[in-house]
Amino acid sequence: MSNKFIHAIYNDDDVLLDAVKETRSAHHHIEEIYTPFPVHGLDKAMGLKPTRLAICAFLYGLVGLAFGTSMMYFIMIVDWPQDIGGKPSFSFIQNMPAFVPIMFEMTVLFSAHLMVLTFFFRSKLWPFKSAENPDVRTTDDHFLMEVALKGDEDTAIEFFKGTGAVEVKVIEK
């Protein structure tokens, strides 16, 4: 297994999308694509699996709901069931409408924050992390596709030039 990679740089997202399709049908393995902004349909063209972040968020929401419910149940009904302004604290269901705002907010809080943390964790983002940018222009107006080099170097360069790349480099990692 060689550790050589091709960096094909494009300056238009439509050209990039076509190039991704050509590259995939030529059975090159796309390692990574760097773009300055989200390109609609790029994940589909690359054949990436859909995200499961929404499922996580739903489960975190359930955790938050359970937390809010059990917290209010313990504090208001079990631990110290005081008479506060005549609210019935004999059982949870009797006083439930008063707890709903808290249960709702807890659901949203857990769902949102834990999902964001999951996103940071899964995409390896944190403060003081050194940027993994192969070419500074990809944050401005260029698109870079990194492909594992397969077979002959010159034919591969020729192939990527043919897909509309404005620049093709071979790098070694």
Partner: protein, 434 residues
């Protein structure tokens, strides 16, 4: 071009025929004298061990005299078939109004996804005219003393009721009918105007018609939000004349709006399954399902806001409204939350599910049944009180109006091409993809 299939026509006519028979049965079987009421109450006491037999909780301090009580129950039982017709009539009429409001919103917002559905919406809102005529006749029958749906229309009641006397500036029969004519007339005018312009736009391709429709929609929405709110005070809240709620108009709006969108989704799925809507794809269904999902939650938000604020403050003049419903209508009152909130929430939260017709139909059925119950619980406690039951008259009345809705709506759909071809947003809508 859509042609009304024979099966659907027969289906609609069967619904209407069965509905009329059931409604007639409801009026026929309502007791006419207090002696009959006494007999019914005795039978009930034998049958279900006093479940509904004990009417002592039916408010009013004057029930210690047995005769008074019987007269009270007699009024309730005589109101029952009227209430059944009234609830079904206002529900189906407001659903078609909800479709019209959704149409107006999509037009005024220049929505790019929905123009392929405009003809479906225009067709279904054709029910608004016959629906509001029948509804207006019902209001006339109530004012003429045919029933006791609105206690404030009865001078004998108002005479002894200082609270209603204080409201007669607004709640008096002439003003009530002036308002009803303005509301129903305004909505119907908008509907007729839009349909005409839309067909002209189709014929000529002249975009001035589109601009006219855009302006009319923006104007209608402003008119609609004021009149809808007042209409819900007039036709629903005034039944519980002693009670008031400030967000009631919104609450009623959310209820029929979400049902209206569900109806659009149902009709779209039906027409699509018959092969008439070639440009409607799963993304359009997905968008409708998102509206159903979001507005179900919006309805729940308003339901809870209204309930919780009054439950929390527990002011006697407000809270009796809910105490009565919880005591006498417990199962439908809370069951409706399951149908209108929990099931749509769980069924429609998933993106993939929102594209599956059978899931949308399942969730939509919950929404339609749930919001019928919602209207039933808004109206019935004030008119039939504890003597309620969802039996033959209620189901028959709903069947009649649904049958009429299907017949009128789909006949109107068959009168124009299903694709508004000269709408400036139609190309975008045809290729809409989410």
């Amino acid at each position: 071009m859509y042609t009304l299939s024979k099966n659907l026509k027969t289906f609609a006519f069967i619904l209407m025929a069965l509905g009329i028979i059931g409604i007639a049965y409801g009026f026929f079987s309502a007791p006419k004298t207090t002696a009959e009421v006494e007999q019914i109450l005795n039978e009930q006491a034998h049958h279900d061990g006093g479940h509904h037999a004990d009417h002592s909780e039916v408010s009013d301090a004057d029930h210690d005299a047995h005769q008074k009580h019987l007269e009270h129950v007699l009024t309730q039982m005589q109101n029952k078939p009227w209430t059944a017709v009234y609830v079904a009539c206002i529900f189906v009429m407001l659903v078609s109004l909800g479709i019209l409001a959704f149409y107006g919103i999509n037009y005024a917002a220049a929505a790019g996804w929905s123009p392929v559905l405009f003809r479906v919406m225009e067709g279904l809102t054709a029910y608004l005219l016959p629906g509001s005529i029948i509804f207006f006749l019902l209001l006339i029958a109530s004012a003429a003393g045919g029933n006791h749906l609105f206690i404030w229309m009865d001078p004998a009641v108002v005479e002894h009721d200082a609270l209603i006397q204080g409201k007669t500036g607004y709640l008096n029969i002439p003003f009530f009918f002036i308002r009803a004519i303005i509301f129903l007339g305004g909505w119907n005018l908008y509907r007729i105007y839009m349909r005409k312009q839309s067909l002209k736009l189709d014929e000529t391709g002249d975009l001035t018609f589109h601009k006219k429709m855009f302006k009319a929609s923006a104007g209608f929405l402003a008119f609609f939000i004021v009149t809808e709110s007042m209409a819900s005070w007039d036709w629903i809240m005034s039944i519980d004349t002693h009670w008031y709620s400030t967000l009631f108009g919104w609450y009623v709006f959310a209820s029929f709006f979400v049902t209206g969108i569900t109806t659009i989704a149902f009709s779209t799925l039906y027409l699509k399954s018959k092969g008439y809507l070639e440009f409607v794809n799963t993304s359009h269904i997905h968008d409708l399902a998102k509206f159903m999902f979001g507005l179900s939650i919006f309805w729940t938000y308003l339901w809870f806001s209204q309930f919780m604020l009054q439950w929390y403050s527990n002011i006697p003049e407000e809270v009796t409204y809910f105490i009565f419903r919880i005591q006498e209508y417990n199962l439908p009152f809370f069951g409706m939350l399951l149908l209108n909130f929990v099931l749509p929430l769980l069924l429609l939260i998933n993106t993939d599910f929102k594209r599956l017709s059978w899931i949308v139909v399942m969730a939509g059925t919950c929404i339609i049944v749930g919001h019928y119950l919602d209207f039933f619980i808004m109206i019935s406690p004030g008119t039939v009180g504890g003597s309620w039951f969802i039996g033959v008259p209620e189901i028959a009345a709903l069947m009649f109006f649904i049958g009429l809705f299907i017949y009128v709506g789909f006949t109107a759909i068959s009168k124009a091409p299903l694709l508004a071809k000269n709408n400036p947003l139609i190309e975008e809508s045809k290729h809409f993809h989410y």
